[in-house]
Symmetry: C2
Subunit: 151 residues, 2 copies
DNA sequence: ATAATTCCTATAAATTTATGTTGAAATATT
DNA sequence: AATATTTCAACATAAATTTATAGGAATTAT
């Protein structure tokens, strides 16, 4: 129906991975590890992390022993912020952000429809934090392990 | 944040346009007119209308005097159907439709997040019909005309 | 026959997705 | 202090997909 870009998908998983290894903002995770753990090309991750850094969601530490780390605690990072950083605009269609984008905006019936859907999404992602995602992930990992043992 | 493709945007406007001119499924509208009214390239519209036809949302009448028309009344066409026809899949990420798409699905925390968002959207577009969109559009056109007169 | 229209196929342009190459900065080691 | 190593940073390029344009064949009404 409506597709989340790979930037959005990979970038969010990158953030969850950083969150999983986060202790304090001085202990960094190297991108190579993230790439291996998540099965994503490291070269591509390097590009994806840039907007996250620009938007102050991650911190980079250069040189040996360096890497990336969350800029704040996972519970203080909203999913909405991550997606906005990665996808730029925060709406289903351009005209919601830039009214001059569509010429027929004054009479276009779909405008209100896309706006309604965008508001639903914004509200949803506004309520979720990176910590929420990490919790879901941890629970799934635990369940997978348990199942593996009992077999 | 999450982008609706031009296929989805243009295709929905095409459907609204057909709905506006719909009287019965024998009186067809030619694509050239839709293209002019909506400000979309006719060549591109020709491609966009194909999936709508395949999914039995519009009927085509070939030859001179032909054109396109809704296959049913606007009130009987759900927005969800239109988007599904145009965008193919009906979910924010592939893995919701095809579990083999993501390898880490068993432990991925974002899966549930994207599923939640997809369900919100599906539900929203399931409740809306093409007639709803047409009504909004008609209301906006009337308001625009009134404003124009009173000036 | 002619004109109007959809239908089909090809191709071009733009954007997104992904990989490769080199360089710069910080750190660890000697 | 010098050197080597590790890591991010920047730029370039390739592949795939989406977006858009073009030409002409098939079909139908007049
Ligand atoms: S005004 Fe932008 S899609 Fe209608
Ligand atoms: S994004 Fe598909 S399983 Fe995580």
């Amino acid at each position: 129906m409506i597709k989340l870009s790979t930037k959005g998908r990979y970038g969010t998983r990158l953030m969850v991975n950083l969150a999983r290894h986060y202790k304090n903002s001085n202990e960094a995770v190297i991108l190579k590890n993230v790439a291996e753990e998540e099965g994503i090309s490291i070269r591509y991750l390097e590009q994806i992390v840039i907007p996250l850094k620009i938007n102050k969601l991650v911190k980079s530490i250069r040189g040996a022993g360096g890497g990336y780390t969350l800029a704040r605690k996972a519970s203080e990072i909203k999913l909405c912020e991550i997606l906005q950083a990665l996808e730029g605009s925060c709406s289903l269609v351009e005209c919601l952000e830039d009214e001059s984008f569509c010429e027929k905006i004054k009479t276009c019936g779909t405008y209100e429809i896309w706006k309604g859907a965008t508001d639903l999404l914004k509200n949803y992602f506004e309520r979720l934090t990176l910590q929420n995602v990490l919790d879901i992930s941890d629970k799934k990992i635990a369940a997978a392990k348990k199942k593996g043992k009992s077999k």
